[in-house]
Symmetry: C2
Subunit: 337 residues, 2 copies
């Protein structure tokens, strides 16, 4: 077990998992259950890049120097201020004999675990990056552990599109699983026009649910309406519990995809007794959810949105392939980024 | 709906639920679906009392003055620093004609929703409280909404014991529900010697599970061993994922009852694929849980421990009544407080 989660790569402090570590050993020699990837591009987490850009007032050279310093110091691209990382694209270079991952040398892959736990060495000084965006062309090596997640990039999608899908692929897979525990349920998605929101709607609809979306603006409503993913769409502030309930009533399943704090109580109030709330937003407050449900005497199951469900990457890619409206929505988002 | 959750009692800011409000209307006149309680005692949340005691260096008069000021300013005992409240004991004085709560005038009750959302007026200046403990004798009035939770105090238990049980009664009821979704599962409880931990072990065992407890010291191990609630007991630091896994292996269900930050990864690592982690600790970090499971490629269901399950108070009281070891453990804790 200990090898498979990367404990041997933790340099300090000892005894923690790689994500909690301050510094990892990023040397390119792999252990028997590890995989080495030749890195082609980093995709920095949006919050991390924003913090760096603000700190250096948009000075690309300074931003680049700080990314190099972080990776050099920590052995991983783990922004110490935001605590976030991102993901990367590369080509599989070597696969240890005991690796359980389904990849072979030459496969073009994206890592689906965070850069905050991925041993990373950069060897080109990031010379091809101007420091002015989240997409970072890079040369170097990254290590995957036995217990890791990696997605082979599909041939029929631009890497940017695949990455955008992989970034939120846990959501539709978990929505699918929960919807199938009910019989023809109603599903409410807070933030239905976003990436995880639209995929959640598509997964819910395919699994037989009736869908309602809450969005923040008329522009989002119109864009979502064209996709046909939501049977009902309402414009409301997801942070206002009364507004959410008035707009959506009580649903069997409520999915929170709005990345702002304060959406817990509205989600709970809009979920019927015996229903389930799935929190995918990283802005979710554990105590607001726990105390909120108790305070409302709400008999609802509340799930921490786990970013991993077996087969989640292939499931999300299949949704994008087979539902043209989802693909169009994602392609528009990728083009706008 | 809007009346039943107490919106009419919110003075500022408008449009939020009572718990999120800065100030409530605590006037004693009740609406048609409300209940008025004549308050006898407040039971301050431990974190809240500790903060007040530290701030005032144990000066009882100053602590009392601040509690009075908070209740006067906010219309509820909602500590603005810790965000926490507590619960209260009193006697039902008046029941609105449309109240769905199963109480009648004269019933001695404990409120099972937080003081952070309970309109409260204190009329005796807390003259019978020396400010030196969490138990606050008080006279005044409190209001319950339609959608609220209240427990009638059992005749065969001291109020202190009943309150201690009610304080954590959501845990055993939810553990019972989850255990029954598996067939003869293994259940690991982090913090098994505490109040919610021991009740969780008792509930798991009654529902047919094999139980393992992780505790922090030899004293806790010995106390728990005498109860027979755990089939296995290990001493380990719940914040050390590797230590937790080494001590407990992979379990079907893991219950987190340790009230310190950093227990998420150990709980996830010690849960088998297809298993469930129930987080009852209010120190749980949502993002540590979500990112941790993804980083470990852990296919586990993660539940926010909802403090409300229908019938939870009666369920917990019944466990204490029928399992002498649990009652002994609680009585020792209450005597030690």
């Amino acid at each position: 077990m200990s090898g498979s989660v990367g404990l041997a790569r933790v340099l300090e402090p000892a005894g923690v998992l790689p994500q909690a570590a301050w510094r990892l050993d990023a040397s390119p020699e792999i252990g028997p259950d590890e995989v080495r990837i030749r890195v082609q591009r980093l995709n920095l987490d949006a919050a991390s890049y924003r913090q760096l850009a603000q700190k250096h007032a948009g000075d690309g050279a300074a931003i680049r120097a700080e990314v190099l310093a972080i990776v050099g110091d920590r052995g991983k691209m783990h922004n110490p201020v935001t605590g976030s990382g991102g993901m990367l694209i590369g080509v599989v270079e070597e696969v240890g004999p005991e690796s359980p991952l389904q990849v072979k040398p030459g496969d073009r892959v994206a890592t689906l675990v965070s850069l905050t736990l991925t041993p990373l060495r950069i060897t080109d000084g990031l010379r091809d990056w101007d420091g002015l965006g989240e997409q970072v062309p890079a040369d170097g090596t990254a290590i995957l552990f036995g217990r890791s997640i990696v997605g082979v990039l599909p041939d029929d999608m631009a890497p940017e599109l695949a990455l955008a899908v992989y970034d939120v692929c846990g959501a539709p897979a978990l929505v699918d699983r929960v919807v199938r525990q009910y019989s023809a349920p109603t599903v409410l998605v807070l933030g239905g026009a976003g990436k995880s929101g639209s995929l959640s709607l598509a997964a819910a609809k395919r699994a037989g649910a009736r869908t309602t979306a809450i969005v923040v603006s008329a522009a989002e409503r119109d864009a979502l309406q064209r996709t046909g993913l939501a049977d009902e769409i309402a414009i409301a502030d997801a942070r206002n519990p009364v507004a959410v309930f008035d707009a959506a009533g009580a649903n069997d399943i409520t999915v929170v995809c709005v990345d702002v704090p304060g959406c817990e109580h509205g989600a709970i109030l809009a979920t019927a007794p015996g229903g389930t709330v799935i929190f995918f937003s990283m802005a979710t407050s554990f105590s607001a959810a726990a105390l909120g449900a108790e305070g409302l005497a709400a008999d609802v199951t509340m799930l921490v949105g786990n970013g991993y469900v077996p087969g989640h990457a292939a499931f999300a890619v299949d949704l994008v392939r087979t539902v043209p409206a989802v693909r169009a929505l994602f392609e528009a988002r990728v083009a706008g980024d």
